[in-house]
Symmetry: C2
């Protein structure tokens, strides 16, 4: 059983929202156990149904499961701090974003934004399944492009780690202290009626 | 009552996922009715709990409610096609994305991606509340920056319309024909084990 904290017990939610949304967080304590092929497909199925401009579905997901020949190429992209806990992940994923519209090759202004929506669907689905899904920007984007042979018309958008929850006690001291669901600034500080300058 | 189609009846979901995820779609038929202040806050509260790199929360939301002095500045940003149905929206939102890290001012490579996650939370919350949430790239990004006095360290990420579902019969012919939940390519076409080139 996971010994991870439940965000529902610590997060201060000020307006009623879906529990799935505030129960999602980004733990680092992973058990090292694999996930099944069907679990993998359910996660990507959730990403599949994200919205995108003109239904472009700009997302592509490259992945590697631990203890496979593909793993080292993905793992080596991560910064040291992420490697310390990702060594117990079941899967690493690199999200690619198609930069141009399929119909005319013109630049798509929301390709990264849309991939963020797809990622959030995946993260919420993982939460519903009791899995850890942890997005990361702490990796070498340029190296990812090169080593994973990403075509020129795709951007590397982000990485993520997926796995089964583990025991925070097994994390290094520094990371164990961080293993609590993070808070947020109040919603009033993120919204404004009218133009920015009138804030 | 809404006469909008239910995506659960038409979408082919291949692997079991949360109903909320496949029930979300992007209708254009809006009733013209307002939303309450509490509904507005619940939507932004959902966005609040999205993940972001180093918990940066890069998102800021500028909004205008219909029949307020702020409305025209937002509405005028939209392309003609979007104006035809957005005139019945209850609220228009412009999402801004902070380009640099708060702690050191260095470029944040995932600021737009993270805003996409926040948007998807908002869209799913809207679905749960029976509201329409429809993201848009069809507007003038440069003009938005200028007219809404967006600071230089923010990008304009996307717009969205929020409202109560209306009757598709009231849409212009062209839009009425499009008023069905869209499909997606199969999940297998979006994922690949290992580097891209081996696809």
């Amino acid at each position: 059983m996971s010994k991870l904290p439940d965000p529902a017990e610590s997060r201060q939610v000020d307006h009623a929202i879906e529990p799935l949304i505030y129960r999602r967080w980004s733990p680092r304590a992973l058990s090292g156990e694999p996930i099944s092929e069907e679990e993998l497909l359910r996660l990507f199925e959730a990403a599949r149904w994200a919205p995108s401009t003109y239904n472009e579905q700009e997302w592509r997901f490259l992945y590697a499961k631990r203890e496979t020949p593909q793993w080292p190429a993905f793992f080596d992209l991560l910064m040291k701090d992420n490697q310390t806990w990702c060594e117990n992940a079941a899967m690493l994923v690199v999200i690619l974003a198609h930069k141009v519209f399929a119909k005319n090759g013109k630049p798509n202004p929301v390709h990264l934004f849309d991939c963020g929506s797809a990622f959030e669907n995946l993260a919420l689905q993982g939460t519903a399944m009791g899995l850890v899904v942890h997005g990361m920007a702490g990796f070498d984007f340029e190296r990812a492009k090169r080593e994973l042979k990403v075509p020129d018309d795709y951007d590397v958008a982000a990485m993520l780690a997926v796995g089964r929850p583990g025991d925070p006690e097994n994390l290094p001291d520094k990371l164990r202290e961080m293993e609590v669901p993070s808070g947020r600034r109040p919603v009033k500080d993120s919204i404004h009626e009218g133009p920015y300058e009138s804030a």
